[in-house]
C-alpha cells in the first residue's frame, strides 16, 4: 500500500496548503495543515499503525471516522498523554507527538504477535474457562491459575496506557439552552438548521469533526457546500465544531463535549481544554449520519483494508489516493461514485459486487470508465505479501448454485469494503426509543419520538443526498400538517442492497474479525452460541463484542447476523443491545469540570473560623463543616492538645465554638402541639425560659435525631439539632407540616447560619460569665437554673444564654447573631484570661462526651432504638408521638438487642483504637456480640475508654469475659463492660 498525494480535483474550495511537522514514535514526519493523524500517517506511507488488543496483529487505518478500530494511537507526553485516540478524528497540530500502542519493541516488529499463534487458547470466554482449571485434572481450579496468569495477560492485552499524573488541564461546565439543537452538519443537518432558523428559532448546530460539512467534505465538488455555509452565517446560527453530542437524556437534554483549546499547540489565551455543556433544547434533530460496515472474511483486518467511504474522504478531503491497485468489494450502490473518483485520480479499480445485477445507469458508467466489475462476487480471504504485513492479494468467492464458492484470486495493494450502512441511532437508543430492523435496507433504524426528537438524513436510513435534504425539510413541514405522512422513505438506491455479513468457505482457514478492536472473530460468536450464550446481551458480554472503545459501531451487526444465522432466526428477532452513553470516549476531567481538589465541595466555615485560626486552631472537616479540631500550644500534637484541653475544661474552664449545631425556629399557634408530636418526651408543659432535651424518632420507631429545644415565648421555640442532621431534620419538619399535618399552624425557619454559638464549660464557667454581666445576680443559680434560657447582655452584646451541658460540667451555651460572633468570642476569651482556661476543639469535645456517655451520630446510626441507647424513659407513655407505634414492635423490645455500654480495658495501661468487635472469650470466631462506636483517652479517668453496643447490654455481660478483637491490627484485648456513664454518673458536676 503506497498512498500518495494527488492534486485537488476542483480548486474552488480554499483550504490552507502548508506543511506542518509531527512526530510518529519520535520520528519527525511532515503533513499538511488540515490532516488528521490517519491521513498524515497514510501520506507518510505508514501502513501499520497499531497492534491489536489480544493477538497483537498489525493494524492500519480502517476508516475515516469515530468507528476506527485499527488506527488507535496515544498522543501527547507526560501528564498530557491521552491513549486510544481514533487517528482519523484527531487533527494534526504543529509538533504533535503520536505513539503506537500495544506493541514492543516496535509496532512493525512486535514480540507479542506470537500470541496470534496461540489464539486457540484465547477464544471467547478464555478467562472464565481458566477458573475451571486445565484439563484433564483441572489443574489450578479456582482462582490460583487465574492469579498466576493474570499478570501476563494484563501485560499482553490491552490498548494504550493512561498517564498516572494528575490532569494539568482545566475544564468548564456550561448550561446551554436553545430552541432547536441539530446534531451533525452534513447535508441533512445543515438543511435542518437553515429550515429551523427560518421561523426565527434559536438554532445550535453541533459537529463532532473539527470542520463542519459532514459528507460534503468527502465530495469532490464543494460549490453547494460553500453556498450553504454562507447561509448559515447569514442566519446567525450558532455552530460548535469539535463538539460531540455524547448522550441523550430525559426532557430533551443532551450532553455535549466541546473541545476548545488544542492543548498541543501554543496557547496564548487561557482557555479550558474542553467544555461540558448540559444542553437543553425544545427540539432535537439527529442528523448524525450513517457508518459504513465491513463484513467478516478471513484476514479482513489486514493493513490496507478500509471502508469505501473512507477512501473517498482521504481522496477528496486530504487529496490522498490510498492505493494504485484498488479492489472494491460492495453489496450496494454507494461504492460506485467512489470507484469513479478513484479511477479518475489515477488508480486501477476493480469492483466485486455481491449482487448479481446492478442498474444499467451504473453499469454504463463503470464500463465507459474501464473499471473491472465482477458481479455476484465477494472476498473470501485477504493475504499479505511475503515481506509485508499489508494486503497483497485476495481470494475471491463467487455466488454459484450451492452458495459461495472459491473463484480464483486477484492482486491488489488496497481493498475497500462496503457491506452496507448503519444509521447512527445511538442517541435515540439512549432514550429507549424503539429500534427496528429494516429487512429491505439491512439496517436498524429509529424514528425518535416524533414530537421533540427527530432523525434526518442517513441517520434515518435515507441513502441519497436529495432524500436526506428533503427529510430535514419534512421535519418542519410535518409539524405544520400533523397528519401529513408523506415524509421521505428509507432507502434510495436503484438496486437494493444484498445483505452480506460473512463469507466463509470450508476450504479456507483463518481469522475473520467481527470486532477488530477487541479481536472478536466470527468463530467466537459461533462458540458463544455453541456454549449457550444466545441472548445478544449474554453473547456481547461473553465475547466482549462491541465493548471496546468504539462500542461496536462497525462490527455489532455482523455479530448479530452470525448469531441469527446460528439460531436460524431473522436479525429482527435476535435484536440489538441498547446503546449507552457516551457515543464516543469522553474525558472524565470534562465531567468533573472545576469540581476538583479544593473546589470539590464548598468549605462551610463557622462565623468563628477566622477567629479560631488566629488562635492557632488546627481545623478538621466534620460533615459539611470546617471546625476547630484542637488548639495546640507550643510543640503539642493532637493527643497532647486534646488531653490538656479536656483536663483544663474539667478542672477550671474551657470555651468551644458550637456554631455548627442545627438551629430551627419553630413558631406559630400550634408550635407546642407540633413539638409534642415529634418529640418522644412531653413538651406541652415546657415553661417559657426553659430548654428541654428531646429525641425525635422516625416513623419506623428508630432514633432520628436529638437536641435541646428552648421555649423563648408562648409560640416561639428555638430547636437545636445535631450538626450532621440539621438539613434532614428541617426537611422532615417541612414534610410533616406540608404533607402530613397541613392543618397545624406552624412555621419553621432554619437559622443555623444566622446564629453563632459558643459553649462555656467548667467549674469556673459561671464565675467567668458573672464578670461579664452588669448585675452579678443575673447569673445566679436562681436566675439561670439548670436548663434555663434567657436573653442577656454580656458586656453590651445582646445574647441568648442557656444553661445546658454536653461536657457534663457546669456549662452554658451563648448564642449571638453571626456577625457578633468574633466580638463575643474575643470578649469572652479576654475575660477568661483571669482564670485557668483554654479553648477546646472537636477532639476534646468528643472526649468529654464519651466520658459522659452522651450519644452522637456514631451511636444514633439509624439502627438504634431509644431503649438501645438507654433513654427509654424519655419515651412518654401518656401521649402520642411519631414512631410510637412501631417502636413497640415485639422484636425491638427483645432484651438481647445490642445496647449502649461503656468499655474499659482490664489492664488500664492498654491503648486501643476504634473499629474493633466485641466477642466472648473463646468464641472469637463466632458472630460477634457487639461493636465499638467511639474511643478516646479519658483524662478524667486516666486510661483509654470507649462506647459501644453489646447484645443484652451491661446486664447480659456481667458474668462473661469479653474480648475486643481487632483482626486487622491483630489486636486482642480483655475488656470490662461498664455503664456508658463512665464519668460523674450522678451528674453532680453539672449543677456546679
Amino acid at each position: 500500500m503506497k498512498p500518495r498525494r494527488v492534486s485537488p480535483p476542483i480548486s474552488n474550495y480554499k483550504i490552507p496548503d502548508y506543511d506542518i511537522n509531527f512526530f510518529w514514535n519520535g520520528k519527525k514526519l511532515t503533513a499538511k495543515k488540515g490532516d488528521t493523524i490517519a491521513s498524515g500517517l497514510l501520506a507518510n506511507q505508514q501502513d501499520i499503525i497499531g497492534r491489536s488488543f489480544k493477538y497483537h496483529r498489525p493494524r492500519g487505518v480502517m476508516s475515516a471516522g469515530v468507528e476506527e478500530s485499527g488506527a488507535l494511537v496515544t498522543i501527547g507526553d507526560g501528564a498530557y498523554t491521552e491513549p486510544n485516540i481514533s487517528a482519523p478524528t484527531e487533527q494534526i497540530t504543529e509538533g504533535l507527538c503520536v505513539y503506537s500502542q500495544n506493541a514492543w519493541p516496535s509496532v512493525r516488529f512486535d514480540i507479542g504477535s506470537i500470541l496470534n499463534q496461540f489464539s486457540r487458547f484465547l477464544a471467547a470466554g478464555f478467562y472464565y474457562k481458566m477458573f475451571m482449571g486445565i484439563p484433564p485434572f483441572e489443574w489450578g481450579r479456582g482462582t490460583s491459575i487465574w492469579m498466576f496468569f493474570e499478570h501476563f495477560i494484563r501485560k499482553a492485552a490491552g490498548l494504550g496506557r493512561a498517564s498516572r499524573l494528575a490532569d494539568p488541564d482545566i475544564y468548564e461546565h456550561l448550561n446551554t439552552h436553545t430552541d432547536i439543537l441539530v446534531i451533525g452538519s452534513g447535508p441533512a443537518g445543515i438543511r435542518a438548521a437553515l429550515t429551523a432558523a427560518k421561523s426565527g428559532a434559536d438554532v445550535l448546530l453541533v459537529e463532532q469533526d473539527f470542520l463542519i460539512g459532514g459528507s460534503y467534505l468527502s465530495q469532490p465538488d464543494k460549490i453547494e457546500f460553500i453556498e450553504l455555509t454562507e447561509q448559515l452565517t447569514a442566519k446567525n446560527i450558532t455552530i460548535l465544531t469539535g463538539t460531540t453530542a455524547f448522550g441523550l437524556y430525559d426532557d430533551e437534554t443532551v450532553g455535549l463535549i466541546e473541545r476548545v483549546s488544542d492543548r498541543h499547540e501554543n496557547i496564548t489565551q487561557k482557555l479550558p481544554r474542553q467544555r461540558f455543556h448540559i444542553c437543553r433544547a425544545e427540539k432535537i434533530i439527529l442528523a448524525t449520519g450513517a457508518i459504513e460496515r465491513n463484513y467478516a472474511f478471513i484476514n479482513n483486518d489486514l493493513p490496507g483494508i478500509m471502508t469505501v467511504s473512507s477512501a473517498r474522504t482521504y481522496l477528496n478531503r486530504h487529496h490522498l489516493l490510498v492505493g494504485e491497485q484498488i479492489i472494491i468489494s460492495t453489496n450496494n450502490d454507494s461504492a460506485y461514485e467512489t470507484a469513479l473518483e478513484l479511477k479518475n485520480a489515477g488508480a486501477n479499480v476493480t469492483i466485486l459486487d455481491a449482487r448479481e445485477q446492478i442498474g444499467d445507469n451504473l453499469l454504463q458508467k463503470i464500463v465507459s470508465n474501464q473499471i473491472h466489475l465482477y458481479l455476484g462476487s465477494a472476498v473470501a480471504k485477504a493475504e499479505n505479501g511475503f515481506n509485508s504485513a499489508s494486503i497483497k492479494k485476495i481470494q475471491i468467492a463467487e455466488l454459484g448454485k450451492n452458495g459461495w464458492q472459491s473463484a480464483g484470486s486477484l492482486r491488489c495493494d488496497c481493498l475497500l469494503i462496503s457491506a452496507g450502512w448503519s444509521p447512527v441511532i445511538h442517541l435515540a437508543s439512549h432514550q429507549g426509543f424503539p429500534i427496528n430492523w429494516s429487512e429491505e435496507n439491512a439496517c436498524f433504524y429509529s424514528s425518535g419520538n416524533s414530537k421533540t426528537i427527530f432523525l434526518a438524513g442517513s441517520a434515518a436510513g435515507i441513502w441519497n443526498r436529495q432524500g436526506c435534504i428533503q427529510s430535514a425539510i419534512d421535519i418542519f413541514n410535518i409539524e405544520a400538517n400533523a397528519n401529513d405522512s408523506a415524509h421521505q422513505k428509507m432507502g434510495g438506491w436503484d438496486t437494493p442492497i444484498k445483505p452480506l455479513y460473512e463469507i466463509r468457505l470450508a476450504s479456507l482457514k483463518g481469522k475473520a474479525f467481527v470486532d477488530p478492536q477487541h479481536d472478536v472473530t466470527a468463530s467466537d460468536i459461533r462458540l458463544a452460541h455453541q456454549e449457550g450464550f444466545i441472548s445478544v446481551e449474554h453473547m456481547k458480554r461473553y465475547t466482549t463484542l462491541g465493548m471496546a472503545t468504539d462500542q461496536g459501531k462497525m462490527g455489532n451487526i455482523i455479530g448479530l447476523s452470525i448469531m441469527a444465522d446460528a439460531l436460524n432466526a431473522p436479525i429482527s428477532e435476535v435484536g440489538v443491545t441498547r446503546f449507552r452513553p457516551p457515543y464516543t470516549s469522553i474525558c472524565l476531567g470534562a465531567l468533573a469540570g472545576r469540581h476538583r481538589q479544593s473546589h470539590f465541595k464548598p468549605i462551610r466555615r463557622t462565623p468563628l473560623d477566622q477567629w479560631s485560626l488566629r488562635h492557632s486552631a488546627i481545623m478538621t472537616e466534620a460533615g459539611l463543616w470546617r471546625r476547630p479540631w484542637y488548639y495546640p500550644e507550643k510543640g503539642e500534637d493532637l493527643n497532647k492538645a486534646y488531653i490538656r484541653e479536656a483536663t483544663t475544661a474539667r478542672r477550671s474552664l474551657g470555651i468551644c465554638d458550637v456554631s455548627t449545631l442545627g438551629k430551627i425556629m419553630v413558631q406559630g399557634p400550634d408550635a407546642t402541639e407540633f413539638l409534642n408530636r415529634i418529640y418522644t418526651n412531653p413538651f406541652a408543659k415546657l415553661p417559657i425560659g426553659k430548654a428541654r432535651y428531646g429525641i425525635i424518632l422516625r416513623d419506623d420507631g428508630m432514633v432520628f435525631d436529638d437536641g435541646t429545644t428552648w421555649r423563648l415565648a408562648e409560640n416561639n421555640y428555638l430547636m437545636t439539632t445535631t450538626t450532621n442532621n440539621a438539613a434532614s431534620v428541617m426537611t422532615r419538619l417541612e414534610e410533616l407540616l406540608q404533607v402530613r399535618w397541613p392543618q397545624l399552624k406552624v412555621h419553621v425557619t432554619s437559622v443555623t447560619d444566622q446564629w453563632a454559638g459558643c459553649a462555656i464549660a467548667g467549674p469556673n464557667a459561671r464565675n467567668l460569665l458573672t464578670n461579664c454581666v452588669d448585675k452579678p445576680d443575673e447569673m445566679s443559680h436562681e436566675a439561670l437554673p439548670f436548663m434555663g434560657v434567657k436573653q442577656i447582655y454580656l458586656k453590651n452584646i445582646p445574647c441568648y444564654i442557656a444553661r445546658i451541658s454536653f461536657s457534663g460540667e457546669l456549662a452554658f451555651e451563648v448564642y449571638v447573631p453571626s456577625d457578633y460572633a468574633p466580638s463575643l468570642m474575643q470578649m469572652i476569651w479576654q475575660n477568661a484570661m483571669a482564670f485557668d482556661s483554654c479553648l477546646y476543639g472537636l477532639e476534646a469535645l468528643g472526649t468529654m462526651r464519651i466520658e459522659k456517655g452522651h450519644v452522637t451520630g456514631a451511636e444514633l446510626d439509624g439502627r438504634t432504638t431509644i431503649d438501645d441507647v438507654g433513654l427509654g424513659r424519655m419515651a412518654s407513655a401518656n401521649k402520642d408521638f411519631i414512631g410510637k407505634s412501631l417502636r413497640s414492635r415485639q422484636m425491638l423490645a427483645s432484651p438481647n438487642r445490642p445496647q449502649l455500654v461503656g468499655i474499659f480495658p482490664k489492664d488500664k495501661s492498654k491503648k486501643f483504637s476504634a473499629g474493633g468487635l466485641l466477642n466472648e472469650a473463646g468464641k472469637t470466631n463466632s458472630h460477634p456480640l457487639g461493636w465499638v462506636t467511639a474511643v478516646t483517652y479519658s483524662p478524667a479517668l486516666g486510661h483509654w475508654i470507649a462506647l459501644g453496643f453489646i447484645e443484652g447490654g451491661l446486664q447480659n455481660t456481667k458474668d462473661k469475659q469479653i474480648i475486643l478483637t481487632d483482626e486487622l491490627r491483630a489486636n486482642f484485648l480483655d475488656i470490662e463492660i461498664v455503664s456508658p456513664h463512665m464519668y460523674d454518673p450522678e451528674g453532680t458536676r453539672l449543677h456546679g
Binding site: D250, T253, T731, E735, Q738, V739, R740, L886, R889
Partner: protein, 94 residues
C-alpha cells in the same frame, strides 16, 4: 435530567429537587395500631408506570410537591403543592 415545574418557581432542573417517596400513602393517626403503621411505612408498590410521588424543591422554595410521574418514561403529568390549602390559594391568585 428531568425537569419539574414547581408551582411557585416554574420549570427547574431536577437537581434542585429532592425525592421524597410514595405520594399516595395515607399515614395513620399517631395512636393507630402497629399493623396499620407497618403497612404505611413498609409496604410499597413498585410501579412501572404512572404514580404519585412526593418531591421537595429543596434548593428553591422548599415546597413539598405531589408529582404525577411515569416511572417508565419519566413523563410528568402534573405537579401540585402537597399542602392543598396553599395549592388552592396559589391557583386562585394565578
Amino acid at each position: 435530567m428531568i425537569q419539574i415545574i414547581c408551582p411557585f418557581c416554574g420549570k427547574r432542573d431536577h437537581s434542585e429537587f429532592s425525592y421524597g417517596g410514595d405520594g399516595e400513602i395515607t399515614y395513620p393517626a399517631l395512636d393507630a395500631n402497629e399493623e396499620s403503621w407497618h403497612d404505611a411505612v413498609f409496604l410499597r408498590e413498585n410501579i412501572y408506570g404512572r404514580q404519585i410521588e412526593t418531591w421537595q424543591h429543596i434548593h428553591g422554595c422548599r415546597s413539598w410537591l405531589l408529582v404525577d410521574r411515569d416511572t417508565k418514561t419519566h413523563e410528568i403529568f402534573s405537579v401540585k403543592l402537597a399542602h392543598l390549602d396553599w395549592h388552592i390559594l396559589l391557583e386562585k391568585n394565578r
